[in-house]
Amino acid sequence: MNLTINGVETPIESGPLTSLLDVLREELGITSPKAGCEQGGCGACTVLVDGEPRRSCLTPAASVDGAAITTVEGLGTPENLSPVQQAFTHHYAAQCGFCTSGMMMASQAYIDGGGTDDREAIQHALGGHVCRCTGYVKIIDAVAAVVRGESFDPNVTAAGTAMTNLGGMA
């Protein structure tokens, strides 16, 4: 089998029923997709298969033979973050960071597919991805910011939401 992973054609030695997740993590050492449940229930393992978001834990390797796979490693680098990566950083859309890779890949697919900055549309598109830390607010903010083409330098400052600071009222 062969996969084109982040633009690089890569021969695969794993068995045909090995999950794409295990191919990436265990055979190839690409560790951004996470084994959060291996039941398809959390979305931490989502990668792009020919541009479409897929739960890699549910995907037998043989079923994607020859496909182009994109992982977070293919989005950008610390020195050259992609817009989604910039927005996730800027908005603190990652707390513990464990759901983040899957969340970003689904976000990338949503944006590539012409998604809007409508909150409900984003919620629906990412609805199967579980984040236990953030309460999702900042993830939605980050995706909406990318759709709107907002630019910022995540190395300088972080975003905030409409929190009202009443100061030391007591």
């Binding site: 990652a94 707390q95 409409a162």
Partner: protein, 368 residues
């Protein structure tokens, strides 16, 4: 479809740091020859952002840019004791330890700078990476130059340690719970209002909106404060209407082993969240901060339970408030069987849930 809307309100308090204290955190800091700062602490970052917060505290305390800080909590060989990341103590207790260590480093920097500038260290301050004479800002030396001087000139290591430990509050009267010291180091406060929709035909509760106000003491990083409050709100929503390991508690049947069967809140369950903060500083926390992480899921469940009552007139006091529980309560109400028992001046809600009704070995209060 008969969907009714209701609102409920709750006010809570929560202690910061371990109950009864006695939970140490320690830190040590060293300065590299170019003035960059290495912080070693044992606080696990579980997503709460303690790497960030503690780095901010160090930068602020010493007076150098945040970008100069490296933070290492990676192992027990290099990092000193931290009791752990729980009990809202990562900022409040462990942050205080790094603040103390940073203050000691600041003093060391001032000492060397004083020698270099021939000024009493007490007359120096550090602003944005430069040691400056108070009242004579032209007299200054950069922290990198101080660090270089310490390293190559004076043969000194610019370093400092800090430890935070409030003594254990012993219970001196087990019969009454009386303690000899305050068992809490600081108490945080919060209020929350919830607005829900309840479908009377199916019993499904939807949380539409949460208004929340938290006293955080001092918001060291507003974005992290928001993150704790938003994340806590959604966990509180889960507690209120969704999550249960044992859907038929006290039975243990049908425990869910997957995300499809154990109902963690999803993105589509997110209500509108309006957040207010108050900064009523604590005496013991770094820069007046209190813990915010733990309490963030405590106020929603009672606010939601009350909002459900407001919407459809039934109390569900076994969490989570599932559609089934709401429907059963509505049917009971329709049958006129929901009224609390009244016995003289006593009003008894939920009598059927009481130990009095179920067990025989222990009894509660006036219904005994």
């Amino acid at each position: 479809m008969a969907v009714k809307t209701g609102r409920g309100f709750a006010a809570i308090e929560y202690p910061t740091g371990m109950n009864q204290n006695g939970d140490p955190s320690q830190a040590w800091i060293k300065v590299k020859p170019d003035g960059r700062i290495d912080v070693f602490a044992g606080t696990s970052d579980i997503g709460n952002g303690s790497k960030t917060i503690q780095s901010q505290i160090v930068a602020e305390t010493i007076g150098v840019p945040y970008e100069w800080i490296t933070y290492d909590n990676s192992n027990t060989d290099s990092s000193p004791v931290c009791t752990g990341t729980f009990a809202s103590r990562a900022t409040f207790v462990a942050g205080k330890a790094v603040e103390k260590a940073a203050e000691n480093v600041r003093q060391k920097i001032l000492e060397i700078a004083g020698k270099e500038l021939e000024i009493d260290p007490a007359d120096l301050e550090i602003i944005d990476g430069e040691v400056i004479a108070k009242g004579a800002p032209q007299k200054k030396i950069s922290v990198p130059d101080v660090a270089a001087a310490a390293t190559w000139g004076y043969g000194e290591l610019l370093t400092g340690t800090g430890a935070q430990l409030k003594p254990y509050a012993t219970i001196v009267e087990p019969e009454t719970g009386k303690v000899d010291l305050p068992p809490h180091s600081a108490i945080s406060y919060a209020s929350c209002a919830a607005e829900v929709d309840v479908d009377e035909e199916t019993g499904v509760v939807t949380v539409k909106r949460l208004w929340q106000c938290y006293d955080v003491g001092k918001s060291i990083n507003p974005t992290l404060v928001e993150g704790q409050i938003e994340g806590g709100a959604v966990q509180g929503l889960g507690l209120g209407i969704l999550e249960n390991c044992y859907p038929y508690y006290p039975s243990v049947e049908h425990r869910g082993g997957q995300f499809g069967a154990y109902l963690v809140p999803g993105m589509e369950d997110l209500p509108q969240i309006d957040t207010l903060i108050i900064e009523n500083p604590s005496a013991d926390g770094p820069f007046g901060a209190k813990g915010i992480g733990e309490m963030a899921n405590n106020a929603q469940p009672p606010a939601i339970a009350t909002a459900v009552f407001d919407a459809v007139g039934v109390w569900v006091t076994e969490l989570p408030i599932t559609p089934e529980k709401v429907l059963r309560a509505l049917q009971k109400k329709a049958a006129g069987a929901d009224a609390p028992k009244r016995d003289g001046k006593t009003v008894i809600f939920d009598a059927e849930l009481s130990v009095n009704a179920v067990g025989t070995g222990i009894a509660f209060g006036t219904a005994a």
